[in-house]
C-alpha cells in the first residue's frame, strides 16, 4: 500500500538576523490512509513547521522550502501552484489549529464560516451550504446546532470553538487532517471529548490524522505510529507501542521518563539536562549531543542518520553502534 502523504528529505529554512537557519533538516515521514501519525517534540523542534509545509502555509519570506518533496496521494505539493494549493487546502487536506479563538474570524457567525469553506470547494448554494454547516455542527456534538450556527465565536466556549474548527476541517471530507496541538488551550475533560471526537471522525470519514503534540500521553491514546522530532529532525519513528515501550534514542527515552505519571507518583523524575540549543547555533554533530550522556566524539562531529538498528529506526550513533 502506498502512503497517502509522503514527505521526503524536506528542508525548510528561514532567513533570520543570524542568516539562513535550518528549521527542518531532511525530514522524512509518511502517513497511510486512515491511520493516525503522532508527531511529538518540544517547542521549536519543527513539528508545526512540518504541518505548515504540507499545507503550503510557510510564511514566505522569510521561510522557504529549500529541498525535498511532499506528495499527497502521489501529487507533488512543493511545486504546486498557489491556485492548486488553494484547491487542495480544505478539500483534500485540512488543518485544525491550536487556538480556536484566533483561528476563527470574530466578525462572522460560525455557521457562515463553515458554509464558506463548503461553498469554496463544492458547487452548492448558500442555503444548502448553511444546512450542511448545521448538520456538521450536529455531527461534532454541538447541542442545538441551528441556534449555535448563528453564534459568533466569542459566544462559544473553548471546547465548542474547537468543535467548530473540526466541523470546518471535515466539511469537505478531506482524506488528510492535520491537528496541530488541538487541545493545548483546553481543560482536560474537554480535551478528552475532543480526542474522542477526532477518533470518531476518523472512523466515520476514514481520514488520516497527523496529530502534533508535546504530550506523550496523547500519543499513547491517539496514535498508531509516532515520529519524535528534535531540533528540526526526526530522531525516531515507529509504531506507538514500540516508541513508548522501547524508546531507542536517548532523547526519546528521556522524554518518556520525565513525564509525571498519574498511575504512580514515586521517586524523582528523570531529567534531561540543559535546554534545546538555538537552531542557528547547531553544529555539525548530533543536535542532542550536548545534553546526551552517551555522546562521544563522533556524536559531536557527524550527524546521525535515521536508520534501523535492532528494534526500530532511530537517528543515534550510540544506538547504531550498539553502545546503548
Amino acid at each position: 500500500m502506498s502512503a497517502l502523504l509522503e514527505i521526503e528529505d524536506l528542508n525548510v529554512t528561514f532567513n533570520t538576523r543570524y542568516g539562513a537557519v535550518t528549521a527542518l533538516d531532511s525530514v522524512s515521514l509518511h502517513v497511510n490512509a486512515g491511520e493516525t501519525l503522532g508527531v511529538v517534540g518540544e517547542s521549536g523542534c519543527g513539528k508545526s513547521i512540518t504541518a505548515l509545509s504540507v499545507m503550503g502555509l510557510i510564511p514566505s519570506p522569510p521561510g522557504r522550502i529549500a529541498g525535498g518533496s511532499i506528495r499527497l496521494n502521489g501529487e507533488e505539493l512543493t511545486t504546486a501552484s498557489p491556485a492548486r494549493m488553494r484547491a487542495i487546502r480544505g478539500a483534500e487536506a485540512a488543518m485544525i489549529f491550536q487556538e480556536p479563538m484566533t483561528s476563527l474570524n470574530p466578525v462572522f457567525t460560525v455557521g457562515a464560516q463553515i458554509a464558506e469553506a463548503i461553498m469554496l470547494h463544492q458547487k452548492v448554494g448558500a442555503d444548502q451550504a448553511m444546512r450542511a454547516a448545521v448538520a456538521l455542527l450536529d455531527r461534532v456534538g454541538i447541542p442545538s446546532p441551528d441556534a449555535r450556527a448563528r453564534d459568533y465565536p466569542h459566544q462559544l466556549s473553548g471546547g465548542m470553538r474547537q468543535r467548530v474548527m473540526i466541523a470546518m476541517a471535515v466539511s469537505c471530507r478531506p482524506k488528510m487532517l492535520i491537528a496541530d496541538e488541538p487541545t493545548t488551550a483546553l481543560d482536560v475533560t474537554v480535551q478528552a471529548q475532543i480526542f474522542d471526537l477526532l477518533n470518531e471522525i476518523q472512523r466515520d470519514f476514514g481520514a488520516a490524522i497527523v496529530l502534533i503534540t508535546h504530550d506523550m500521553g496523547a500519543i499513547a491514546e491517539m496514535a498508531d505510529r509516532v515520529a519524535v522530532m528534535y531540533a528540526g529532525r526526526v530522531i525516531e519513528g515507529a509504531t506507538a507501542d514500540d516508541v513508548l515501550d522501547h524508546p531507542q534514542h536517548p532523547y526519546a527515552r528521556g522524554l518518556i521518563d520525565c513525564i509525571p505519571n498519574i498511575a504512580k507518583g514515586d521517586a524523582a523524575l528523570r531529567e534531561i539536562p540543559g535546554v534545546v540549543p538555538p537552531l542557528h547555533l547547531l553544529g555539525a554533530g548530533c543536535a542532542f549531543a550536548a545534553r546526551c550522556a552517551h555522546a562521544n566524539n563522533r556524536c559531536h562531529t557527524e550527524k546521525p542518520k535515521l536508520a534501523a538498528h535492532g528494534h526500530h529506526p532511530a537517528a543515534c550513533h550510540a544506538v547504531q553502534e550498539g553502545r546503548i
Binding site: A240, P260, N261, I262, A268, L269
Partner: protein, 323 residues
C-alpha cells in the same frame, strides 16, 4: 506536626457589571465556603479546570484577593483580620511562584535585584548580607553566580522559573504558593523544576499550596489533593487514595480524561467514563450539586440539594452517591 494554614469557610465574591444604572450590582461567588488545612512540610494540591476557583482560593488565602468571608489561620493569626501593615510584615512567611515566568519577572531589572528585592522591602540585613543571601539562593536553585547581573530575557523558561523560585524563597518563608509553576514549560524542563521543588520541600521543610490542572504533576509533588469544581472542594484525600480510589464522579472523570502512557490506542483503549458539556457558569450556579448536569450518576436529589463535604477516614467527599 503543626498546621501551617487552616482555612475555614473561605468565600470570595466578585462584582459583576450592573444590569442597569439603578440596579444593585450582581455578584459572582467564585469561592464558596472552602475549608482545608495544610500541615507543616506537606504539599496540598488544588486541582480543577479553568474557572473552578483554585487560584482564587489560594490568592484569597494569602490575601492577594479580598475574601468576602471566612477565616485563614496562619500560625495562629487570622490573616483576614490583620491590618495592612501587620499583613505586610507577615508576607515574609509566604512565597509565591507564578505560572508564566515570562511575565512575572520585571524585564528591566537585573535578576540579582529581582531576587534581592523582598529583602530590601522588608529591610532585612545589611547590603552585604542580602547579597550573600542572593548568592546562596542562586546556588540552591541551580543557577550560577556569574549570571547574577543578567536580565530575565537572557534566560530560558526553565531558568526563569528557577529565578522565580529563588525570589519566593528569599525571606525564608514557611509556605510556598505555587500557581501552575510548570504548565508553561516543556516536559523535559518541567521535570527539572518539579525535582527542584521536591528537593527544596525536603531540605527546607517547606509547605506547598500547589495549584495545577495536571494530575500527573500533582501526583508527583503533592501529599494531599483537593479537587475543586465551580468554587467548591468536591473531594479531598491523601494523594494515593485519591488517585487509586477516587470517590466523587468528577474526580473519576478527571482521572479518566487525563492522558496516560498506559492507555493505548493499539490495545483498543476507550475511555471508561466520558462526561459531556462544559462546567456551568458561576454567574448563575445550579441550585443542587454543581456537577449534576454532567454527572452520569445524577438523580433527582442531586439537582435539588447541594451535597456537603462528608468526612470518612482521612478523606472528604461532597456527593450523595460516592463510590
Amino acid at each position: 506536626m503543626s498546621t501551617v494554614l487552616d482555612v475555614r469557610d473561605l468565600t470570595v465574591r466578585f462584582d459583576l457589571p450592573r444590569p442597569s444604572m439603578f440596579a444593585a450590582r450582581p455578584q459572582l461567588e467564585a469561592v464558596r465556603a472552602v475549608s482545608f488545612t495544610l500541615e507543616e512540610g506537606r504539599a496540598l494540591g488544588l486541582v480543577g479546570e479553568s474557572g473552578s476557583g483554585k487560584t482564587t482560593t489560594a490568592m484569597a488565602a494569602i490575601r492577594l484577593t479580598e475574601a468576602a468571608g471566612g477565616q485563614v489561620l496562619f500560625d495562629g493569626d487570622d490573616l483576614l483580620k490583620l491590618s495592612a501593615e501587620q499583613m505586610r510584615l507577615r508576607r515574609r512567611d509566604v512565597g509565591l511562584i507564578f505560572q508564566d515566568p515570562y511575565s512575572s519577572l520585571n524585564p528591566r531589572a537585573r535578576v540579582v535585584d529581582i531576587v534581592r528585592e523582598p529583602l530590601d522591602l522588608m529591610d532585612i540585613g545589611t547590603m552585604d548580607e542580602r547579597m550573600g543571601r542572593v548568592r546562596e539562593l542562586f546556588t540552591l536553585v541551580g543557577l550560577r553566580e556569574d549570571q547574577l547581573s543578567l536580565f530575565p530575557h537572557q534566560f530560558s523558561g526553565g531558568q526563569r522559573q528557577r529565578i522565580s523560585i529563588a525570589r519566593a524563597l528569599t525571606t525564608n518563608p514557611k509556605l510556598l504558593v505555587c500557581d501552575e509553576p510548570v504548565s508553561a514549560l516543556d516536559v523535559a524542563i518541567q521535570a527539572q523544576i518539579l525535582n527542584l521543588l521536591a528537593r527544596l520541600k525536603q531540605e527546607l521543610g517547606l509547605s506547598y499550596l500547589f495549584i495545577s490542572h495536571d494530575l500527573g504533576v500533582v501526583r508527583h509533588v503533592c501529599d494531599d489533593v483537593a479537587v475543586m469544581y465551580l468554587g467548591q472542594i468536591v473531594e479531598q484525600a491523601p494523594v494515593a487514595t485519591l488517585f487509586d480510589a477516587p470517590r466523587h464522579p468528577y474526580t473519576q472523570a478527571l482521572l479518566a480524561a487525563a492522558p496516560s502512557l498506559k492507555r493505548r490506542k493499539s490495545q483498543g483503549y476507550t475511555r471508561a467514563m466520558q462526561i459531556k458539556g462544559d462546567p456551568p457558569s458561576p454567574i448563575n450556579p445550579p441550585k443542587g450539586c454543581a456537577f449534576a448536569a454532567r454527572c452520569p450518576k445524577s438523580r433527582q436529589i442531586c439537582t435539588e440539594q447541594r451535597p456537603t463535604l462528608q468526612k470518612s477516614d482521612n478523606s472528604r467527599v461532597a456527593c450523595f452517591f460516592p463510590a
